[in-house]
């Protein structure tokens, strides 16, 4: 999908300078590994029939979540899709709470009431995961409008896929955000597919987000979504712009999902070799190399890997041990009074 020029533009920001610094780089690495390990575990648990319902993994797309979360300040808000585990984890939500929700246990983020597609952790700024394509783009506008109105400095970030750019709400939200100059960042994770259909088969332009930015008076920004440094720097610029009152950004991150669309999908529709080519550009592999190039010791990296594995193992055990939700929560929190009474 990406032209040679895009690729060049996409990797331009990944030189070996040190504006990012070691601490942030280790954070970005760790975030990616947390996502990788937790998602992989979710997949294993699904095979054991312990993850219920559906589940949409971000294996291979970790750099986008890590790069953006790394650039966020406390108070910034994330709006995610059903493919939101990565972004939820990246904001610091515990693996246990995420896996617990996927396993529909009482220790889950929403005690099993929402499920895998609706991860929410308001205390971490994760203002919901939305399962109707496009719906959360206007909602993120609203959160950004509140910040603008209140003179607050937080920014709302809305993550979605390439396929989402073809639905009406995308268009309405982008225009609305641009006209009102809202502090909102729209992040399109272009992983080349909607569910099973290649995005190029159903989209009038090669870059579903980037090639449409001009429709909203916005800059065309298309970056390598598998390089967390590139994503991080791009995100920083967009946050700076938003906080300075410069309005919205639309950022297309080129990436790829290693697994199928959802747990039900063996992803047979991929052309041969495509997955392998993208695995060569695995974001975690890239980033491990980067750390080494910056002289970070192998054992520091290994310690992170080991620690994350332990965290995920512990979370898994905790979830397996956790009870299922009690049935009395079935009718709580429909209304603000805590109940569900539609009549007296």
């Amino acid at each position: 999908m990406a032209t040679a020029k895009d690729r060049a533009q996409a990797s331009a920001g990944s030189g070996l300078n040190d504006d990012i610094g070691e601490a942030k780089r280790l954070e970005l690495y760790r975030t990616q590994v947390v996502i990788r390990e937790a998602e992989q575990r979710a997949f294993d648990l699904f095979l054991q029939n312990l993850v219920k319902g559906t589940s949409h993994l971000s294996l291979g797309q970790e750099a986008v979540a890590a790069g953006f979360a790394g650039a966020m300040k406390p108070g910034d808000l994330s709006f995610c899709t059903y493919r939101g585990h990565a972004h939820t984890l990246a904001r610091g939500v515990s693996v246990e709470k995420v896996l617990g929700e996927l396993m529909q246990r009482d220790n889950g983020l929403m005690r099993g009431k929402g499920g895998s597609m609706h991860l929410t952790s308001a205390e971490h700024g994760v203002m919901g995961s939305y399962a109707i394509i496009g719906a959360h783009l206007p909602i993120a506008c609203g959160a950004a409008w509140r910040a603008q109105y209140k003179g607050a400095k937080d920014v709302s970030v809305c993550f979605f896929g390439d396929g989402t750019t073809n639905i009406g709400a995308f268009h309405e939200a982008l225009n609305f955000a641009a006209v009102w100059k809202l502090p909102v960042i729209f992040v399109c994770e272009n992983n080349l597919y909607m569910e099973y259909t290649p995005i190029g088969d159903v989209t009038a332009v090669p870059h579903p987000a980037g090639d449409r930015a001009a429709s909203y008076g916005l800059e065309r920004v298309i970056v390598d979504g598998n390089d967390a440094d590139v994503v991080y720097r791009t995100a920083q610029a967009a946050f700076d712009k938003a906080r300075a009152g410069g309005g919205p950004s639309l950022i297309e991150c080129l990436t790829y999902r290693h697994s199928g669309h959802s747990r039900a999908d063996p992803a047979k529709y991929r052309p041969e070799g495509e997955l392998e080519r993208w695995k060569e550009r695995d974001p975690i592999k890239i980033y491990k190399e980067r750390l080494k190039q910056f002289g970070i010791a192998e054992n520091v990296i290994n310690d992170i890997d080991t620690d994350v594995k332990r965290v995920v193992d512990d979370a898994t055990e905790a979830c397996k041990a956790a009870p299922v939700p009690p049935v009395d929560i079935l009718t709580t929190d429909v209304y603000a009074d805590g109940g569900w009474a539609w009549r007296n």
């Binding site: 808000l77 983020l109 929403m110 005690r111 009431k113 929402g114 499920g115 609706h118 929410t120 952790s121 308001a122 205390e123 203002m127 919901g128 939305y130 109707i132 496009g134 719906a135 959360h136 783009l137 206007p138 909602i139 993120a140 506008c141 609203g142 959160a143 950004a144 409008w145 509140r146 910040a147 109105y149 209140k150 709302s156 009406g168 709400a169 309405e172 939200a173 225009n175 609305f176 006209v179 009102w180 929560i329 709580t332 929190d333 429909v334 209304y335 603000a336 009074d337 805590g338 569900w340 009474a341 539609w342 009549r343 007296n344």
Partner: protein
Amino acid sequence: MAELTYRDAVIRGIAQEMERDPDVVFLGEDVAKAGGVFKATVGLFEQFGPLRVRDTPISEQAIMGAAMGAAMTGLKPIAEIMFSDFFAVCFDYIANEFPKSRYMSNGQLKCPLVVRTGNGAGSRFGAQHSQSVENWCMMIPGLKVVAPSSPRDVIGLLAAAVRDPDPVIFFEHKSLYATKGEVPDGEIVDQLGTAKILRPGTDATILALALMVPRALAAAEKLQAEHGINAEVVDVRSLVPLDTQTILGSVARTHRLFTVEENPRLCGWGAEIVSIVADEAFYDLDGPPVRITTPHIPLPAADNLEDIVLPTVDRIVETVRRSLGS
């Protein structure tokens, strides 16, 4: 006390709440500088300024989504959808987003907003600008739904809606905008979920909503005068929460139930109420509960056709009289 139009009551109701709480903001198409297509928001832009009263593009999904995002994070937005028929272009917010986010998040998210809209027939606008769609909202778990019939109720229920911590769909009736009523001075705050017995009676309970309320009242007078039938008229006002106590109480006294619904027949609000009464007050009923509705058809534009398609005073009178066998 002052006599106010229903239209001006909308203005006063919004202004009352915006004066009280700086977090109340208002957005919609042509609502600010132009004062709204029904002139029901005239002066708000001048009074509250361009940051609180905002014109939007023709983007109903963006309007609803923006209201929701703002509500989730601390504002109390009032969003206008010009004609309730346009709920169909932003129905995802009404059906899937507003009412479910609190539940799905196990109480982490809130959605305290009001959607105001012009509902109902009578303007010869035809099938896409005249619908009564209160049942589109009543059927969705997690919403609250009100539809005032008088200027006073407009102010009081709007205030209650704005102060409510849940999403409230507020139906204004286009054909009531020009009607007048007495409104007390000072702040008015009513209560959601409360029906009002507007005319006590002993022989039959007539439930009505919005534009159907004055018709039900007129019918009751005629029933009394011409047929000696003393009907109780209840303004349902709030579909969710539903004041079943008042309704069941009335039926327990009159033993007969009639609903006067502007919505087309199938799955109208009257069906729900009849099913509640038939289940819980079966032995109170002395005869069949009867629904008087708009026939189950799209609405015609022509004045002579539109005039007969909604329940009329005469149709109400005839139906009740015949059913009571007088």
